[in-house]
């Protein structure tokens, strides 16, 4: 596929990610920090986000399965998760993290378990979309103009 078509597709997908609320302003800053000297910055940060998130999700699951539930620890993990998703502009994920923390403060175990499902779901959706999007960005970058 020629470059112009690819770039157009990239632009469309990017716009919809923002319009649909998956991504927010901090992601734009990531893009702005990418340049010729740091051509893979966005991908690097996103990759870090995936591995960090995997670690935190595992920790949270473990904490949720423990009895009694340590709500302080849970909140601590979720604070970290919220922090990193907010840093990259993962808006929906961040919002679900906020809901989770409210249940944590209330020491509402059921609420935590439910909202954690939401967090994981939003994270999975975002990850899928980002992978597709960044792959397209990469393709457009190396493609030729027809």
């Amino acid at each position: 596929m020629d470059r112009n078509r690819l770039q157009h597709q990239v632009a469309c997908m990017r716009r919809s990610l923002f319009d649909q609320g998956y991504l927010d302003e901090p992601f734009i800053q990531l893009e702005e920090l990418q340049d010729d000297a740091n051509p893979n910055f966005v991908q690097e940060i996103v990759t870090l986000f995936y591995s960090d998130s995997a670690r935190l999700i595992q920790n949270i699951e473990h904490a949720l399965n423990s009895r009694p539930i340590d709500f302080n620890k849970l909140d601590d993990y979720m604070h970290q998760f919220k922090g990193s998703s907010s840093s990259i502009g993962a808006k929906k994920v961040t919002n679900e993290c906020t809901v989770f923390r409210e249940h944590c403060s209330a020491e509402n175990a059921e609420g935590c378990i439910r909202s954690f499902q939401q967090v994981k779901q939003e994270y999975a959706i975002l990850r899928r979309k980002l992978e597709v999007y960044l792959q397209m960005v990469g393709q457009a970058a190396v493609s030729q103009t027809a």
Partner: protein, 197 residues
């Protein structure tokens, strides 16, 4: 000694993503950067050992760079960190005779007015809300320049300088002011220092 245009910032954050981000932001702003993941590593880097905070509190004639391995012109630290918080780190730096003139900036993802004023009262130059923007970092250079000027003056003049240079300009502590925190009441610490001389 680094050239005037090359300031060295020590960034402290336990989040690997935020560390990478702040590093990139700082480098984009033409600062030299060192990142560490904890307050204790920051103190280590600054050359401060646990007992230095207790002795040498009243020796203004000691060069500020006496204990430092590398010159650091500003410390920017996250507030919420396990073990030593950003606030604890700020305190330790301000209580150290060798490090107290290093400007410290606090970052936090949480907008808690009491937290903000506590940090400013303890001597933090700025309190930035995360996610930190590139434009936020424009506020840093003036604080570092101030210190460079201070370093070239007599030690006795330092305290006068500090009082005169109370950064009451409208852009400083913008986020604190948005929350309606008065900046007039902050920095009782300076009165304490004047009394010491």
């Amino acid at each position: 000694m680094a050239a005037d245009s090359e300031f060295h910032v020590l960034a402290v954050d336990d989040s690997i993503i935020d560390r990478k981000l702040i590093e990139r932001l700082l480098k984009t702003s033409s600062f030299q950067v060192t990142t560490v993941d904890s307050g204790s590593k920051a103190l280590e880097f600054l050359g401060l050992h646990e007992d230095d905070g207790i002795i040498n509190t009243n020796t203004p004639s000691v060069s500020p760079n006496n204990h430092q391995e590398v010159e650091v012109n500003l410390v920017i630290t996250d507030y919420c960190m396990p073990g030593m918080t950003g606030y604890d780190l700020l305190k330790k730096i301000k209580e150290s005779s060798s490090l107290k003139n290093i400007p410290v900036v606090i970052m936090s993802s949480e907008n808690v007015p009491s937290r903000i004023s506590r940090c400013l009262e303890e001597g933090a130059e700025e309190f930035l809300l995360k996610p930190v923007r590139l434009s936020d970092l424009n506020k840093l250079r003036p604080h570092m320049l101030k210190t460079k000027i201070k370093d070239h003056q007599e030690p006795e003049k330092q305290d006068k300088e500090e009082k005169q240079q109370q950064p009451q300009s409208n852009n400083n502590n913008r986020k604190a002011m948005e929350e309606g925190i008065s900046t007039e009441k902050i920095r009782p610490r300076l009165n304490g220092i004047t009394a010491m001389v």
